[in-house]
Symmetry: C2
Subunit: 175 residues, 2 copies
């Protein structure tokens, strides 16, 4: 209760976000994945229940961690409150076979003050020092952030195509 009333006395993050700084994200992993899980659900084209989605989200994240070198950065305000994060993983990619930094996730609570740019730059710099030869990321078609990435030196490389499959029918032999 004390914590909540203390938090309420702080100015809103919209006011403090302008003085953000970027720090290592590992101490903020719980908060990062809480945000990411909520936001990712908005992008998912599927009709999972809350429980199914949470279970699937856990499995997907665990699979992503099964190989590669991972790094997180967060942007925080002067009260160390979370303002956004970037999650990047270096693996050798299956196309060029060179160490590639894949931006798995980048999100900000407050837009227009440069948090996203600062997070992306920090991730790129980390990746460069780790020996990555390129940064790669996926943007959904129609996502307005495409222009944002193009302005920051990203170029279109490939398309992801998809085809829906009919749901499996009940086996008529009753197997």
């Amino acid at each position: 209760m004390f914590r909540r009333s203390y938090k309420n006395r702080l100015p809103p993050v919209e006011e403090t976000a302008r003085d953000f700084r970027v720090v290592d994200g590992e101490p903020y992993l719980d908060e990062i994945f809480e945000h990411d899980r909520d936001i990712s659900r908005g992008f998912a084209r599927s009709e999972l229940t809350e429980e199914e989605y949470k279970a699937a989200y856990s499995r997907v994240v665990n699979n992503l961690f099964s190989f590669g070198v991972h790094k997180f950065f967060v942007a925080v305000d002067r009260y160390d409150r979370y303002l956004g994060h970037v999650w990047v993983r270096i693996t050798e990619d299956a196309v060029d076979f060179v160490p590639t930094a894949y931006v798995l996730d980048i999100e900000t609570l407050v837009q227009g003050v440069g948090i996203g740019s600062a997070l992306l730059e920090r991730a790129e710099e980390w990746a460069r020092l780790e020996g990555a030869r390129k940064v790669s990321l996926r943007v959904e078609l129609g996502n307005p952030f495409l222009t944002w990435y193009l302005k920051r030196g990203y170029r279109k490389r490939a398309l992801i195509l998809e085809k829906p499959l009919q749901a499996r029918e009940k086996d008529s032999q009753g197997k």
Copy 2:
């Protein structure tokens, strides 16, 4: 020597490919990866030596095998000779969080006789029966096969963006 002269007496695959059939690919894995390793090198934008490429290729394949349900099909002629293959893996994808069949590779030795279509259809059918809700694959921008996939019901879903990173400079402190 006997084997070679026997092989030489068979008609060339260009003649026999028309009567291909699609079978489980697992007994052909050595041949599949030999072909794939050669062909993938042609697509890679990197300046690796032969040895570096082979080592990177092995690591990438091992990483791909680290999770998911994998399946291979091959097309063979009436002498059971390899004519092409498809490699598909089902995982829950990181966007929709539903079981997704990712076509990791599809290649044919002979074109224009329907081998690619038959392999893709078999992979899709297998994926459907395994409970996958969609098929997903990556096509490089400028790859003429984009039209081939669009004709077979695939639709554009996302873009892969890339940005090169400057190579890491020699550490001036001599570390």
